[in-house]
């Protein structure tokens, strides 16, 4: 490169700053071309791809077409679920599970992490109702408690836990709640709901 480090004669008076007129380094030029090439290829590819995804999934134009990515990920989720089906316990199996000490102690951990904010550290009730007294808004039978925990009452401020924690942990939490019945606690919240024996 015979041009290298040639001072530009025409630009002499920039407060004493001189300028070379060196050519751009080759790798840098290729970087530039590469970026432009990428842009030229990516835009049509991506627009076409997300459009295809959106129409295939039926999301359509009312969703930003990113809906395509979303639909793809939901399909993956469904496939994953099908591969690892969750065990739904019923009848005596369920009661046995809910009464077993292992479930109760596992449930205590879940409860401490997710429930104390609303039900208090002893289940005495704060934002949510007291879980130790014999009064229930939605029933105190093991099945009813499990249903409360699993599906919640979102409009009343009780989240649905099965979709958050998974059915295993939700069952454990229910087991722990059932074990709380009749426990004496300091400063319990006033009773809510109906008394059950």
């Amino acid at each position: 490169m015979e041009e290298k480090d040639k001072i530009l004669e025409t630009h002499q008076d920039n407060d004493g700053i001189q300028e070379y007129d060196n050519p751009l380094p080759g790798w840098f030029l290729y970087l530039f071309y590469g970026c432009v090439l990428f842009a030229g290829l990516y835009a049509p590819y991506y627009v076409g791809y997300s459009h295809a995804m959106a129409t295939a999934g039926g999301g359509g134009a009312n969703l930003s077409a990113s809906g395509g990515d979303y639909l793809a990920s939901v399909r993956l989720e469904e496939a994953a679920r099908a591969a690892a089906p969750t065990v739904e316990l019923k009848g005596a199996d369920l009661i046995g599970y809910l009464k077993s000490p292992a479930s109760v102690s596992g449930g205590e951990t879940v409860f401490k992490a997710n429930c104390v904010a609303c039900h208090g550290d002893q289940g005495q009730g704060v934002v949510g109702p007291n879980l130790t007294d014999p009064f229930w808004l939605h029933g105190g039978s093991p099945q009813a408690v499990l249903a409360s925990v699993s599906h919640g009452y979102p409009d009343k401020g009780m989240p649905a836990w099965k979709n958050v924690l998974g059915s295993e942990k939700a069952r454990m939490a229910a087991a722990y709640v059932i074990s709380l019945k009749g426990r004496t606690v300091s400063s319990p919240k006033a009773p809510q709901g109906d008394k059950e024996p």
Binding site: D5, L8, T10, H11, D13, N14, D15, G16, I17, Q18, E19, Y20, D21, N22, P23, L24, F28, L31, C35, V36, F38, A39, Y42, A43, Y46, V47, G57, G58, G59, G60, A61, N62, L63, S64, A65, S66, G67, D69, Y70, L71, S73, V74, L76, E77, A80, R81, A84, A113, N114, A117, V126, V127, P154, D155, K156, G157, N163, L165, G166, S167
Partner: protein, 737 residues
Amino acid sequence: MLRIKYDDKITRMFLIACLVWGVLGMSAGLWLALELASWKFNLGLPYISFGRLRPLHTNAVIFAFGGNAIFCGVYYSTQRLLKARMFSDVLSRIHFWAWQAIILVGGIGFLFGITQGKEYAELEWSLDLVLALVWVVFAINFFGTVARRREKHLYVALWFYIGTIITIAVLHIVNGLAIPVSLTKSYPVYAGVQDALVQWWYGHNAVGFFLTTPFLGLMYYFVPKAAERPVYSYRLSVMHFWALVFLYIWAGPHHLHYTALPDWAQDLGMVFSVMLLAPSWGGMLNGLLTLRGAWHKLRTDPILKFFAASITFYGMATFEGPLMSIKSVNALSHYTEWTIGHVHSGAIGWVGLLVFGMIYWLVPRMWRTPLHSQALANAHFWTALVGILFYVVSMWIAGITQGLMWKEFTNEGVLAYPNFLEIVTKIIPLYWLRAFGGSLYLGGLLVMVYNVARTIRSAPAFQDEEAMVPEAPAVPAHAAPVAQYWHAVLEGRPFALAILTTVVIAIGGIVEMVPTFLIESNVPTITAVKPYTPLELEGRDIYVREGCYNCHSQMVRPFRDEVARYGDYSKPGEFVYDHPFQWGSKRTGPDLHRIGGKYNNLWHLRHLDDPRLTSPGSIMPAYRFLLESKLDLSLTPNKIRVMRQLGVPYAKEVETECRTQAQTQARSIAADLEKDGVKGMADKEVIALIAYLQRLGTDIKWRETGPAAASIQAPAPAPAVAATATTSTHPSKGAGI
């Protein structure tokens, strides 16, 4: 031959202002870092709670520290490059004092919650107006000097200054358009998707044209001066200047990937961001290669050390930026601390180090005394460098940790970390490390302030203005440089250059904005979406005032993990009445777009009173004062009137009845709280905020239909939302009883 004096006093004034604001702005930053590491640093004071202090920090560092540094260097170099004293000393003084006044008044305003709620554009309309005028003063002063110059040829630094002056004016005016409600409150004319697009067009180009182009100009002046070497390549400077100003302006939408912004705009933003790598690295190369042949001086000269490190950080940040603009990377990085790390490698790496180098170079010349201590300057360099590394590395780790934990699922198909708080507490140690890095950086700055103060103290007495008096011939008009290249023609014609720059920067903005505004299918209407009730609107204004958007997003992206965590993803049509939009850019706390109906009113009350009551270990500041302060409804009719002017379909009567409506809704929420034993809340601000939170994201009945159902089973486009088009706007809606 003529003897002229340069106005150096103005350079000295801006230099000192830059240091003073630098210390203040960065101290605020350090305090914010501590507030995130431990909520106790909020001190229970509304004025410095995180959401109010953060705008003070960002504005002080960008516009006060950065701004004063730009003006300091521009006033110094422009006079010398043009061989002319500034056009008007009076304009220079007006520029200086008005700028400081805006920052002072605006900054204090932020502490009192006076904000427009748009990032880096938080100043309210009244100050925005003054700011625009001051910018015009600066422009007149600058172009006046250009007109009276004695050197025909415009050096590359000046192109960058011209690009800055024009573009910042355009950005500031377009993004600032708002209708006033009172002197200290206004609503932007844009809503939702459009507001988001305009804001990030502005936001990204504040980075591009306030933190990049002017500093590249300064680099082109001060680096060859300090290194005493010629600039590496003139050709490269031509190419990267034009490519940079053309490409930058398109890149804004990369702040809105996977949001409700139309996809074509997102894709344009991404593609242009990736291409931006080349011109950015062009600037880096020209800077670093100018130091060729001066590397040996780096060992002893702190100024060159600062410059070399600064340009290196520029290269790093402009590589990281395009990387983060790629949609699949952004899916992970967006809303995390990674973004914070990225912005700081730009702000304290590139900008900060360049400013420090420039100041060390200027101080001995401006006060005609050698620097008090070279050793201290070297010490400053090393503490700053180690500080940045701590900062950036801790934020990388924190950001990637957050991103991965948010997204992880168990085999059973549920979120591995459903409790958001668990992820928050996980990264607290990294918040401490970041605060440590930040305090090193601030410590270095304090050393510099001491060093400069000592230098100034030992300076000889000044006879009024200590200006240099070079001899400079006026350039006759015909003495145009021999046009070796086509571009040289422009270099002698500043006004042609300015007009061409305006055209070049206008293209990207127009192509992205005009269709988003005009083509209806970009934001499909959802009939179920109704305006906020007067109480909810007041609550929203409290949300804006407290700066909740600094920690919370309101934009559920269409990803499986976000839908599982927050609820149905956000649709463009849901934000049509949001003046300003509040999508946020960071998830220090969880997304709030679907918070409505998730908890009951009592939960929110306790959570705002002290987040630790409901969420042990939370780092959210306590908002106890909202439970004590009375809700002020005096502006409500005005607010409704302005909203109506903006096209929000309130019935005419609402303007007169809004207070009664608000009170009725407040009483019904208070009644619900009373059932749980909390009394006396009906007239408190917290009620309005709760009303707003309970309304958020509920116009679409996703809780009933389920998010997946709402979006997947819809056979054709529109019905997904149209099917749920029944909703009540009854005031007690969302009261949760």
